[in-house]
Symmetry: C2
Subunit: 666 residues, 2 copies
């Protein structure tokens, strides 16, 4: 199965671990908590198409009404709920899904149109501002909800109205003269349409996805001009009347629409949009074997490399710039607000995971899986509190007085909370990519990351089952148990993380048939036939990492396996300045301790390796080299906690990932 | 005399030095070159009030027409020309001044109004957009031109129409209900009105300056609302129709009008505006002994300290942000475009000098003079080429492929070139502040910086004359010669720069009556009576300086005396990357060499102290500490040139001031 949203059904989590515990929290708390918030904020009933008082509010981010995304909030909740219902039934969740589906069905207009804002608030203005107004984005999330709903219930109650809506969209958008040559300002529908196509095999769905992707950024798409220019002129916008997120006129790079995707050299603009778009482009490359597929693949790889090498934080977060919630220039990666910015939206790193998973299907290279795992255990997991009822939108790497390290109960623009929930619903699909060939009786399993779980693969009448047992990411020992009928030839590929200095497989492969290609160790059918139980061992030791020197961040952070650590005031209560003056010796000795908690984890402690900078107070813009900084006090014990688990224990909200690196002068 | 624009008449430059050579270049080349450009671009004839083809151009910076500043370009040239005419007569310059004055007189409307744009292009719209449209800014420069013209010619040909215009402004703006409660978006007229008041002693001029200053930022100034809000509403602006320099709606901090000046905590917004405003505020404090003078003084000092300690570059440049040509957050000081920005406009540092000079009159503290001198020899002097015919607007501390280290022949917004010229016209007024008391027969001279020059001070019938002879800033020996009649008691205060580790005065002051207070060594009347010839010696040695650690710029730069150095490709031709990978050991040995040139200077050379960073190419956002950077090649000789003298010798335009600082790992 090509999509993790489908293949997750083959995975069963077994003994409790990081992932399964997070899933349990979502099931027992988050879904119901979010349902309550949907109800109290008006989102739940919005598809009834009645006026809500908040529709009168001035937009926080002009020209985008605050309620514009409500369709997608509901859709993402339904999608996540349906994944979790596969795992365990729940009456309250089921009734809510049922009622929401009824409301959505009843909200559909005669011609198939289905959108809250453009039915209730601005009924005459549908499809007049694709650039800013998230109409097709909402449609995309409705498609994804319908697919999840159909997967769980096996009926078309939600899929049917959505297909009708997609029919309307297919009539409305396309290359014909009477069609609009537009495409969404916020990509999402493209990836949803491709998933829909896999379900329906209706070429209309593939065609519309491809149109949105290929037409994007066409400088002469509508009447010889850029679609967004024509659209703005028709609306009567004045040229200098700019959305809040545009730093200047026609900042279409914000929407990755400044030029066709295949011509884009660097990753630009709104980070979530970029990730959703490239996920769809990668998927189109896989599905659509047309001539320009290779050009598209090259473009995605180019943009991926630019992103992970030059525009990604240590945590897997992306986006340094608040104004457009997205990418700055190469290597511009300040740690927090008081150093120049840091955005790193939760949804954006969820998007990186989506993209990485697509790319792994095109090219099995552990560099993609490394980043997928980095995002999951850090930038994404930090987005939800241990108890599952508080969330982040922005994930800075250092707190400041204006932006403390704190989660919130909800957001006006509430994309992130339900996105984390639905991700955890199908996260099993990210563990591994199984495939089988019934004709040749072969099975292949590419294992991208590790967790106690079982994978079932049907090959004709046969079933192959692979089980991993591990305490990853805290422990690097992973035991595998393969149950494969004699008739089936199974190949298993295990990812060796890029950060792993050493690893062993046992029993040893005495034939030396196993080899590591692009970060994946291939275990041959012969090996696994002989050794149905085998172990991968990747010793996990704390290590010091730094961003690229061009970032001008002369900092060092601690990592252990895929986990990135931070310091918090909770167990370093002396801090008063967000650890701004803390200096760490990268040659320090680091000890680790197991901590019992809802999510048991390993904390790290540095003894006698940290000092404080005494900051001079010059009367001008410089200090002489020999008068410079010196040590004020030694920190006997400096405590580190995984970044994902920050802000779960109270405290003042002081936190930092990267600490000043000790140099000769300090 | 309270203004350097007046007191410069007391100073005569003697043996050639840095300053007098720069002045000679302006006199022999720059003024005539700029006159030619004024003519070819249409500025020269603009006061004839005919239509110019360029008036149809779309503005580069909406909503500001490109030609909006033409009045001030002409005015600044007249002002500078009149200062230089005091120095040497020149027929071509005199005729141009004469003709321009005639055109300005003829351009005045019956009611006194005097502005090109609002007479020719938008005649119905005068005083409808004070926030953006530089109307009063132009008026301020006309006032300053009229004062300089009157000073040289001793007639009222220019002053007369200007006084008539000021009368109209005094009627138009003020606290009365029928008056407009507005103030200029770009301060300048305030400082000009205060200078005018000194000349006219007409309280109306003081009152209008004070009104503009006190009313600024009043949240309820017009009809209970902010003046700029009311003004925008009357114009029919839409709320999200934003000037290009506004990052969001109502970014009135851009104009330092977000709150009253006395309530402003940090220096914000457009750097030139801030400097011109605070110059006027400081001067008002001096002139106006009303109750809130101390509050104003405290505010200016607070904003000064914030600026020089947290928002100033090593060169004395200010303003990191291109969008609003101004200040970013504290300590945000990247070196160039590819590191996050760097603006450092020439005019802004000229403004710092203006402000520092005002502050020195309120509080004789060398911290102000240190910055005044730093700006002059670096951020300001770099603004004009050695030959006086090329200029900068932006002065970054590191070049990049998009912004090479290059001067230009002119700018659409041409504030900087004539600003440098007029500054050099009256720069003698910055050397020292003389004052005398005829009643008590005393003279005081506060010497702020050093150059071969003579100062004459009249005390009743007597004349005191102080001469300095020095090759400053290249040599730290300054010989003084005082000619003071027996009847006069003269006190001399010599600035000891903050960066000076050591200094001597000779002959020795055996009475030990001399002492250093706030960076000024006071030589008593007794001492100078006995020692009419004395010498100050400040050994000048190359030194390493760094910006504050909070800037996250782990860099080191070379300085010698007040001069900040840079590396250029001209004598380091191996460079291909703008010295981005260059690493300097701050413990290096630095040798100096005299270089013969139009402006002779000392270059610096580091032998075996520089290396190149080998930059790793990781597949993700971090590198492990132990795999990090290492040295690629040693640079046997690294050559440095004063930043002010960059880009005078050709080359590729690669330049950098601050180099990566060598640490343990490199």
């Amino acid at each position: 199965m090509a999509y993790p949203q489908n293949s997750h059904l083959q995975t069963t989590f077994t003994t409790p671990g990081f992932i399964s515990r997070r899933r349990e929290v979502v099931y027992s708390t988050t879904l119901l908590y979010q349902l309550k918030v949907l109800k109290t904020t008006g989102r739940y009933d919005a598809f009834k198409l009645k006026w809500h008082a908040s529709y009168n509010d001035e937009p926080d981010v002009w020209p985008v009404p605050n309620h514009l995304f409500w369709d997608s909030d509901v859709a993402k909740w339904i999608e996540g709920a349906c994944y979790f219902l596969q795992y365990k039934e729940n009456q309250e969740i089921e009734s809510a899904v049922k009622e929401l589906v009824e409301m959505i069905r009843s909200a559909q207009q005669d011609d198939g149109y289905l959108n809250i804002h453009f039915t209730v608030v601005e009924p005459g203005k549908r499809f007049t501002n694709l650039r800013d107004l998230h109409e097709l984005y909402n449609a995309g999330h409705l498609i994804e909800a319908a697919l999840a709903h159909n997967q769980y219930y096996g009926n078309d109650l939600l899929l049917e109205p959505i297909l009708k809506y997609v029919d309307l969209l297919s009539l409305t958008f396309g290359p014909d003269p009477e069609q609009k040559h537009g495409y969404p300002g916020h990509p999402e529908i493209e990836l949803a349409l491709l998933r829909l196509y896999e379900k329906t095999r209706d070429l209309k769905h593939l065609k519309l996805a491809r149109y949105f992707i290929d037409e994007r950024g066409n400088p002469k798409g509508q009447d010889g001009r850029h679609y967004y220019d024509v659209e703005a002129e028709v609306r009567g916008d004045r040229p200098d009347e700019m959305p809040k997120y545009f730093p200047e006129k026609r900042s279409y790079w914000y929407q990755q629409a400044h030029k066709p995707i295949v011509e884009q050299e660097n990753i630009e603009g709104h980070a979530v949009r970029a990730m959703y778009l490239l996920t769809a482009v990668s998927d189109l490359v896989r599905v659509d074997k047309s001539e320009d597929a290779e050009t598209k693949r090259t473009a995605v790889e180019r943009l991926w490399n630019n992103m992970v090498q030059k525009k990604m934080y240590l945590t897997g977060g992306i986006g340094a710039i608040k104004q457009w919630e997205g990418f700055g220039i190469d290597y511009f990666l300040p740690s927090g607000t008081d150093e120049g910015g840091c955005y790193s939206e939760t949804c954006a790193s969820i998007g990186v995971m989506m993209l990485a998973e697509r790319l792994l299907q095109l090219d099995l290279d552990a560099k993609y899986a490394d980043i997928m795992e980095l995002c999951f255990y850090n930038a994404v997991s930090t987005g939800m509190s241990e108890d599952g009822s508080k969330f982040t939108y922005v994930n800075q790497l250092a707190s400041s007085d204006t932006d403390l390290s704190r989660r919130a109960e909800w957001f006006t623009c509430a994309c992130c909370p339900p996105n984390v929930a639905r991700l955890l619903g199908y996260v099993g699909g990210y563990l591994w990519t199984p495939s089988s060939d019934e004709k040749n009786n072969t099975v292949q399993v590419n294992v991208h990351t590790y967790a106690s779980a079982t994978l079932s693969i049907s090959v004709g009448e046969h079933t192959v089952q692979l089980e991993q047992t591990t305490n990853w990411p805290w422990d690097g020992n992973i035991r595998f148990e393969l149950q494969s009928p004699e008739a089936i030839s199974t190949t298993i590929r295990l990812r060796i993380p890029g950060w792993a200095k050493e690893w062993t497989i046992s029993p040893e492969d005495k034939q030396h048939a196993s080899k590591v290609t692009k970060g994946y160790l291939t275990l041959s059918p012969d090996f696994v036939r002989t050794n149905s139980s085998f172990q991968l061992n990747i010793p996990l030791k704390p290590r010091c990492i730094s961003p690229h020197p061009y970032t001008n961040q002369n900092i060092v952070a601690l990592a252990r396996g895929p986990i990135i650590y931070c310091v918090e005031d909770f167990d370093n209560p002396w801090v008063k300045d967000h650890f701004k003056n803390l200096v760490l010796d990268p040659e320090c000795e680091i000890s680790e301790t197991d901590v019992e908690s809802t999510e048991p984890y390993k904390n790290l402690t540095v003894r006698d390796g940290a000092t404080l900078l005494q900051v001079p107070e010059p009367s001008g813009p410089y200090v002489a080299h020999d008068e410079e900084t010196f040590v004020k006090a030694d920190i006997q014990k400096l405590h580190f906690i995984p970044y994902a688990l920050r802000d779960n224990r109270g405290g003042k909200g002081h936190m930092r990932v990267g600490l000043r690196r000790k140099s000769t002068r300090v």
